[in-house]
């Protein structure tokens, strides 16, 4: 294969790579978690739920944003409505009120997610005379799960206060354990010295008796 043929082959390979890169880009755009809200039908209303700030990072103030729209896609405003949202993280639960937000049909509950991971929101109560009780969980199909804030820290990645406290507790426990082990080691050493002294005395007496 001469230089010209090699060049043509390389250019053809370049086109193939370009197509490949395009397909990869399309595939990635389809598989990446969407920074989106989850929309579901609740009776006659359409409910949309998600984070106020997406992506959501641990340790940063955020909010649960819930909007309601009727069949005509008009926002549902109900000043007398009583809505709550139960935030679940693992086995931990916390219930807060959903309050009207900055635009019609928006209800918000502000909070700081302090840990990264999977959160579930259970919205319950009444709005426009309709009783609702629905749960949404973060996933790649709904809204983002919470990511460690270190991902966006710059220039230094500082540990969270919770992490520092846990580290202190751990180090304290390790120090206590080391102190206990040192005390036990001293006791064993003293006992060993005592046994050695007794053995020496016995040996000396036997030696004297034998002589």
């Amino acid at each position: 294969m001469d230089t010209r043929e090699r060049y043509v082959a390389w250019q053809a390979a370049g086109v193939r790579r370009a197509v490949c890169a395009f397909v990869v880009a399309i595939a990635l755009s389809l598989t990446w978690p969407a920074s989106a809200h989850e929309t579901k039908q609740v009776g006659a209303l359409t409910m949309t739920i998600g984070w106020g700030e997406e992506p959501a990072y641990s340790g940063l103030t955020n909010s649960i944003d819930v909007t309601f729209a009727n069949a005509d896609a008009m926002p549902v405003v109900d000043a007398a409505g009583a809505l709550t949202v139960e935030i679940a993280f693992g086995t931990e639960r916390n219930t807060v009120s959903l309050l009207p937000g900055g635009r019609p049909g928006l209800y918000q509950a502000k909070f700081v997610p302090t840990r990264s991971g999977t959160y579930s929101f259970r919205v319950a109560g009444k709005i426009a005379g309709l009783a609702i009780d629905t749960t949404s969980t973060c996933s790649s199909q709904s809204f983002d799960c919470v990511t460690d804030v270190a991902a966006i820290q710059f220039p230094a990645k500082d540990p969270a206060s919770g992490e520092l406290l846990t580290r202190l507790d751990r180090e304290q426990a390790r120090a206590d354990r080391s102190a206990r082990n040192a005390k036990n080691a001293v006791r064993i050493a003293v006992a060993a010295v005592a046994v050695a002294v007794v053995a020496l005395v016995v040996a000396a007496r036997r030696g004297r008796r034998a002589s």
């Binding site: 086109v15 490949c20 990869v24 880009a25 693992g90």
Partner: protein
């Protein structure tokens, strides 16, 4: 049923229940080129598969199929310089996804292992599929185990009868034990040959043309010589009987040696020692248990001084046999089993435990004979005969377990290759230690395993939810992806995904979420080929330039001006084979972990201010050409 036989039956049933029901892989796939799930830019010329045991090229099949099921291999698999590897040449593959469908017959024991994996050529790696690798090993067939049992059992009887005849504690003409051993071993050999032919799915002629078949022929020849010895001992004069029986015993031991050389002892590390050890084990069982069978046949009827003398001669020999069986069996077990987990969790380990229990029971009966039966030999042989029958029944069971062991792959040969990527880390609060492993170090679909342990106690963390967040450090414009892992065996979390899309440096944040808490452990690793050797040009009076071939095509020339520790400037140019400059749309230049601020200088040239340290500095470059291709390369520069 007497109490003793009830105990023996109970022991046998317990051992059978303890035996394995699943098979470990015999010739397990260790590595392959292309790797499972690989996304190749250019079609490979061949597929090379490397196994944990020698593979028979004649009996094995390797097919490379496209999505429509059409084959693309050019001929049968061929042996390579490495006896554990096979290679199949390929016709030129068009772009697409291919499945390598392999079925391997081990050249060591004739057992079959099959599996499949996929790779892609010139297409999106995410289309290769999440499940990149499957392996199937049929469990040992009862037919094959029967063949092995009969063959080894017959050889044991032959060795015992030969030793008894030669060393004067049994019938000098061999008697029924020798003839029985001859018949049983011959039947066993035929059954084993037929079982191995069925395993390989080949004709007898085809099988006999392989190393597995040749080992069968050699065993047959040795048994034929042993048979000639037995016949000679029966027909010749009395003086020639003992040498004839010695020939029969030696020939049976040679058959045992060939049997061992065609088994797993000859396949792993320290082959000579292991083969010798396994052969000595079988030969000692032959002298001990085969000799006992010949002795019991010899001392029928009333007690006599001659019979008592024969028993005492055998007793001295039996102690040696027991010692050799124990030492060599221990050596083999220690060689094949490397952890308690392999003893309890693998079929091979459980079979060894069953065998140890049976040997221990035989030893107890032998001790009973020594301390109770031997002192009353002159007056009664019945206690000796009764206890010895129990010993022989248990020995038959132990040989059956040995036959099962011969049909199973030892965990040592079933161990797969170490993971291509293995990184560890801990969270800031030092609560959890995490070990992340990946099956492949290449971009494309991969299998990830996470083991999370408490930092202090080293106990497995659980119950927990584990997910991985992948960040391409050399491609800061590519958004992270997430993979949630499922709970696997032994406290590990496993998952498969095409998240490592590109070669280069990656940071993976391992998120471990427990009931009321979560921790994130970041770990970093490189994906793709090791650093290529750059071609370096040092013009007099000018800065040196380093040229490397980039993954994704083309070349990158990195110039450091001036090449010194401290503030300097890095210039990167992209060009093709001609060399013509390739227009670049975006470029990321990194020095170590720092991403530099780049400035376009020309169509395919970018510059960046950098600070280099003394010693080795790794400069990484990722470009996006104007026609969308991604190029990646890095060079290691030694700064004086």
């Amino acid at each position: 049923m007497t109490r003793r036989s009830a105990v023996a039956c109970g022991l046998l049933v317990a051992c059978c229940l303890f035996l394995p029901r699943v098979a470990d892989a015999h010739a397990g796939l260790q590595t392959s080129d292309p790797a499972p799930g690989a996304a190749l830019g250019a079609p490979p010329n061949a597929v090379r598969l490397s196994f944990s045991e020698n593979a028979s090229a004649t009996l094995s099949t390797v097919r490379v199929l496209d999505r429509d099921g059409a084959s693309h291999e050019d001929g049968r698999p061929q042996p390579t310089a490495d006896p554990r590897a096979l290679e199949v040449r390929l016709a030129r593959l068009p772009d697409g996804v291919y499945t390598v469908d392999w079925r391997i017959v081990s050249a060591v024991d004739g057992h079959t292992t099959a599996g499949a994996f996929a790779f892609a050529v010139g297409v999106d790696p995410t289309t290769v599929g999440a499940v990149t690798r499957t392996v199937k090993t049929p469990p040992p067939s009862a037919y094959e185990v029967l063949g092995r049992w009969l063959l080894v059992g017959g050889l044991v009887l032959l060795v015992g009868a030969g030793a008894a005849g030669a060393l004067a504690f049994g019938d000098a003409s061999g008697g029924a034990v020798a003839w029985g051993g001859l018949l049983v071993s011959a039947i066993g050999l035929v059954v084993l040959a037929d079982a191995q032919r069925r395993n390989a799915g080949a004709s007898f002629a085809h099988l006999l043309d392989t190393s597995v078949g040749r080992a069968l022929l050699w065993r047959g020849a040795a048994i034929a010589v042993a048979g000639a010895g037995v016949v000679a001992a029966r027909s010749r004069a009395t003086a020639a009987r003992r040498p004839a029986m010695a020939v029969a015993a030696v020939a049976a031991m040679v058959a045992m040696a060939v049997h061992v050389a065609a088994g797993h002892a000859a396949a792993g590390s320290a082959r000579s020692l292991q083969t010798l050890s396994q052969w000595a084990h079988f030969a000692a069982v032959g002298v001990w248990m085969g000799g006992l069978a010949a002795l019991i046949a010899h001392i029928r009827g009333a007690p006599s001084r001659d019979k008592a003398g024969a028993v005492r001669r055998f007793a001295a020999l039996a102690i040696g046999g027991l010692a050799v069986v124990t030492v060599t069996g221990g050596l083999r077990a220690l060689h094949e089993l490397k952890s308690w987990h392999e003893v309890t969790d693998t079929g091979y380990g459980r079979a060894i435990v069953a065998k140890v229990v049976l040997i221990a029971a035989i030893t107890m009966l032998a001790a009973r004979n020594r301390w109770r039966s031997l002192p009353v030999l002159e007056t009664s042989l019945e206690p000796l005969r009764r206890t010895s029958r129990g010993e022989l029944a248990l020995a038959g069971s132990a040989l059956a377990v040995a036959a099962v062991l011969g049909s199973l792959a030892p965990p040592a040969s079933a161990r797969t290759a170490p993971p291509a990527i293995s990184v560890s880390g801990a969270d800031v609060a030092t609560t959890v230690r995490v070990k992340l492993t990946a099956a492949s170090s290449q971009p494309g679909p991969n299998r990830f395993t996470v083991r999370a342990e408490d930092y202090d106690s080293r106990r497995v963390v659980g119950p927990a939810r584990v997910s991985l967040r992948f960040n391409a450090l050399d491609d800061p414009d590519v958004a992270p992806t997430t993979l949630t892992l499922a709970r696997g065996s032994r406290g590990n979390f496993v998952g498969e995904g095409p998240n490592l899309v590109f070669d280069g440096r990656w940071r993976v944040d391992v998120l471990i979420q427990r009931s009321d808490d979560s921790v994130t452990v970041p770990v970093r690793f490189d994906v793709g080929a090791p650093a290529p050797n750059p071609s370096v040009v040092r013009p007099p009076g000018g800065p040196p330039s380093y040229t490397v071939q980039a993954s994704g095509g083309g070349f990158l020339r990195v110039t450091v001006d001036p090449e010194r520790a401290g503030a300097t400037r890095v210039l990167v140019t992209c060009f093709d084979f001609n060399p013509e400059v390739i227009p670049v749309e975006r470029m990321v230049i990194t020095v170590g972990d720092r991403v530099l601020s780049v400035v376009p200088v020309d169509r395919g040239m970018y510059a960046a201010a950098a600070v280099l340290a003394r010693g080795r500095n790794r400069i990484g470059v990722v470009t996006r050409t104007t026609f969308g291709a991604r190029q990646h390369a890095f060079v290691d520069i030694e700064v004086p």
